[in-house]
């Protein structure tokens, strides 16, 4: 073979290879671009549907809550509700599928079971289905497209179906744009969103000197939506309409679709996937020798492209996972730290967040040394929106309780504030109470929340749990100006109050059955003794056993408070004299003998049980009172004796209005010095410190408060 023939053959081979490479490269790039656009459009539609569905579900739940049950409400009333919540169509449908109340005159009496498109809503009466949603479709009586969504009444006797016109979606989409257009999704892929009629861009924060409409950006508005064809050239019905556009000096591929009065355009720059093809062609044109290398390089680039697609998918998934992560963090950071152990009550609470994070929270805190506030609440909705609103609600309720102490007043004030800041149509149910540890009286408010369970009695016998069904007002953040009424229930030592959210009673098993209030009572009955932690665990285990691995749909929150004992406290004042100290010492003896309030249940018995601590406490009292009398210049002093059964011990608090004196800042005398070189005095405070288990000093309102606690053995060190 001649040299020329070889070169010619090589050239032919070269050109052929180049053609093949070009064709393959173009095909690959087109496939990738179409796949990416398919994914992006699908993802976008799912996000939009999700947002719209969530919002419609909120609205429908509010309407269900408003009507309470499937009754024949007048058209005026339904119309008023529809107007109040900006809903185009509301239908109340009974168990048989008949429309019994509506704001649409044509719909009254219509049998929903007759037509194909309304029949799926009948599922809402099966007691399991919680929501039925349909995509936008052309409305039977008008030109607009309408979307329907239904939510059942809680007792299963019917459901509410609401309809919203596409045109109303504008507002919702605008409100959610920042969420939908997460700039972290994708590298070069981007979205545009514009008003359908005016073409005005709404998707980006635009500077004044930038294009403000699709037309200004160079889009041929008149070609929507007909223009374009699949890059793969296979056309046909339903083929993706991808069109080419010049944007900011780059050739880009676009897909466009309409949703809720907006035109959405997904944009992928050509060089994202075609770049590699062009590069290889250029490389091949330079040297034949590079053909093989080009192939290799081409292959490498192809794998780079798939890597990029995978990265995009990963980024999209990560963005969703991140939202849930954020919601979870918000939710768990809002939970309170455990309280200091108290001899007078025990409290346990826990929350199991669902995968999508509902808006449950619980809270508990002391209003002062004898009042325990606690609550459980459930914010409507899921995800970050619910979690953020939950934070607001929790803060407002806690602040109001700390400020007003009365739960009814606190809930009324917080509700007014919650209504003002409620831009996302959220609402929450809550049960909040304040337990007076001196009396066992619980003052509470139930704002549309599940009834708590009260278990009476300390022994195993006669522990019959009962629901506390008193309600005192509607859900929070729903209606401004609601005045919640305070309710009370009284607890005796040994009684337990159990609070929970509907994630517990509405947990589903694999047959679609609800856990229910009956099973909750059974679970609580199975707890053999008053023990809040055990009660919470038993209920959680019962729910988990019932669900048998069925995914948890909502947060499950439980909180149990046991009223353990009434405090035995005796307080008396004394003059700042030697006689005063002697009287205080006699008072301490009385306390151990149960004399100051012998009528108080168990006082005498507990006093005598703790009497081995008396000598040490007499020494403590002698030291502290002598200090007050000799050095403080007080006009008198007060001794507060608290006998504690569990953990057994005595708490003494000394209060005086003398000069500030913090004995804790006092240095112990050096007991290592020989006795003769040691200054006499200064030993008292050291003895107090060594003879007690804890010692705290506080100066409040120009008074010294010194509190010591003595437990167990007389000498602990």
């Amino acid at each position: 073979m001649k040299k020329g023939q070889i070169v010619a053959s090589a050239a032919v081979l070269y050109v052929a290879l180049m053609g093949v490479t070009w064709t393959i490269g173009t095909r690959q790039a087109a496939q990738k671009t179409e796949a990416m656009l398919d994914y992006a459009v699908g993802d976008m539609r799912v996000s939009l549907d999700g947002v719209i569905d969530t919002m419609l579900e909120h609205l429908a739940s509010i309407v269900v809550h408003h009507f309470r049950q499937a009754d024949a409400h007048s058209m005026e009333e339904v119309a008023a509700v529809a107007e109040a919540f900006d809903i185009d169509e509301i239908s109340v449908v009974d168990r048989e599928g008949r429309v019994i109340a509506t704001n649409d005159p044509d719909s009254l009496g219509v049998d929903m079971l007759v037509k194909d498109e309304t029949r799926p809503f009948a599922e809402l009466t099966n007691g399991v289905t919680q929501v039925v949603s349909q995509p936008f479709r052309r409305h039977a009586y008008g030109n607009s497209r309408r979307k329907y969504l239904g939510v059942p009444f809680p007792n299963g006797d019917g459901y509410v179906q609401i309809g919203l016109d596409e045109s109303r979606m504008d507002r919702m989409i605008s409100a959610q744009l920042s969420f939908l257009f997460d700039p972290q999704v994708g590298d070069t892929l981007c979205y545009l969103c514009a008003d359908e009629e005016t073409g005005k861009l709404v998707s980006k924060q635009l500077e004044d000197d930038m294009p403000q409409t699709l037309a200004e950006l160079g889009f041929d508005v008149s070609a929507f939506p007909a223009g374009g064809a699949s890059l793969l050239g296979d056309g046909g019905a339903g083929a993706a309409k991808t069109f080419v556009q010049w944007l900011g000096g780059r050739r880009v591929f676009c897909r466009s679709f309409l949703f809720g009065g907006h035109r959405f355009i997904v944009i992928e720059p050509e060089d994202e996937f075609y770049g590699s093809r062009n590069m290889i062609a250029a490389a091949m044109a330079v040297l034949l020798a590079l053909v093989l290398g080009g192939f290799a390089f081409f292959l490498v680039r192809i794998s780079g492209d798939s890597e990029r697609i995978r990265a995009f998918y990963r980024a999209a998934d990560a963005a969703r996972a991140k939202e849930m992560e954020i919601a979870k963090t918000i939710q768990s950071s809002a939970l309170p730290a455990p309280l200091e152990a108290s001899p007078y009550f025990r409290l346990s609470a826990s929350m199991m967040p669902a995968r999508d994070i509902g808006g449950d929270f619980y809270d508990f805190f002391m209003l002062d040394s004898t009042h325990l506030a606690f609550m459980v609440a459930d914010v409507s909705g899921k995800g970050v929106t619910a979690a953020l609103y939950m934070m607001t609600a929790k803060t407002l309720l806690k602040d109001a309780l700390l400020a007003f102490r009365d739960p009814a007043e606190a809930f009324s004030r917080a509700n007014a504030e919650l209504c003002r800041s409620n831009t996302a149509n959220m609402f929450l149910t809550a049960w909040g109470g304040v337990l007076d540890l001196e009396t066992g009286l619980v003052t509470f408010v139930n704002a549309g929340h599940n009834p708590p369970v009260k278990v009476e009695g300390a022994g195993a016998e006669g522990r019959t749990p009962k629901y506390v069904t008193k309600k005192s007002g509607p859900v929070l953040a729903f209606m401004d100006g609601v005045a919640y009424r305070p309710r009370t229930l009284s607890m005796n030592p040994g009684d337990t109050l159990f609070l929970y959210t509907d994630g517990v009673t509405e947990a589903l098993d694999h047959k679609g059955e609800l856990f229910g209030e009956g099973r909750l009572l059974d679970a609580i009955s199975a707890v053999p003794e008053p023990n809040p932690k055990m009660a919470c665990n038993v209920v959680r285990m019962a729910v988990a056993a019932f669900a048998e691995g069925v995914a948890q749909a909502d947060d499950q929150t439980v909180l149990a408070v046991e009223y353990v004992a009434r405090p035995l406290r005796f307080v008396r004042s004394f003059p700042p004299t030697q006689e005063g100290i002697a009287s205080a010492s006699a008072f301490l003896d009385e306390c151990f003998g149960g004399v100051p309030d012998a009528a108080r249940e168990g006082a005498r018995e507990l006093g005598s049980r703790l009497s081995p601590l008396a000598p040490a406490l007499h020494v403590v009292l002698d030291e502290i009172c002598s200090n007050i009398v000799k050095h403080s210049g007080a006009s008198g002093f007060e001794v507060d004796v608290e006998l504690v059964a569990e953990p057994a011990g005595v708490k003494l608090t000394f209060a005086d209005d003398g000069a500030p004196y913090d004995p804790l800042s006092h240095k112990d005398p050096d007991t290592a010095l020989p006795a003769l070189e040691r200054p006499i005095g200064g030993l008292g405070i050291m003895m107090v410190r060594k003879m007690t288990d804890s010692m705290d000093y506080e100066r409040v309102h120009d008074r010294n408060y010194l509190t010591v606690v003595k437990r167990g053995e007389v000498f602990s060190k």
């Binding site: 030697q578 100290i581 002697a582 010492s585 000598p615 040490a616 007499h618 020494v619 002698d622 030291e623 009172c625 002598s626 007991t671 290592a672 020989p674 006795a675 003769l676 040691r678 006499i680 005095g681 030993l683 008292g684 050291m686 003895m687 060594k690 003879m691 007389v714 000498f715 060190k717």
Partner: protein, 98 residues
């Protein structure tokens, strides 16, 4: 508080019953006549507790006996009183007989 006092020449013995605190210590102090005494003992078998006011009296006695070459003894303190001596380091200073 009840104080019994027995003197046998240069030996002086006290028996203290009840509580030795800021109210009662001045009474014990008033009973102390240590001139010419070589050995003083306190029988604390019936003493409930002692506070720093009582310790002060004992330390003053201990000092003055040490200065005059005499001795002070504490007899049969209960666990409470002994505990106070231990806390304050006086158990190693005072001669204590169980």
């Amino acid at each position: 508080m009840k104080i019994d006092k027995m003197q046998d020449g240069e030996r002086l013995a006290y028996r203290v019953e009840g509580r030795l605190d800021t109210n009662t210590s001045p009474e014990l102090e008033a009973e102390l006549k240590l001139d010419g005494v070589k050995e003083v003992s306190f029988d604390f078998s019936a003493l409930e507790y002692i506070s720093s006011a009582g310790l002060r009296v004992l330390m003053a006695v201990h000092k003055s006996m040490a200065a005059s070459g005499g001795a002070m003894k504490i007899l049969h303190p209960n666990a409470m009183v002994l505990g106070v001596f231990e806390i304050t380091g006086l158990d190693s200073v005072f001669a204590v007989e169980a």
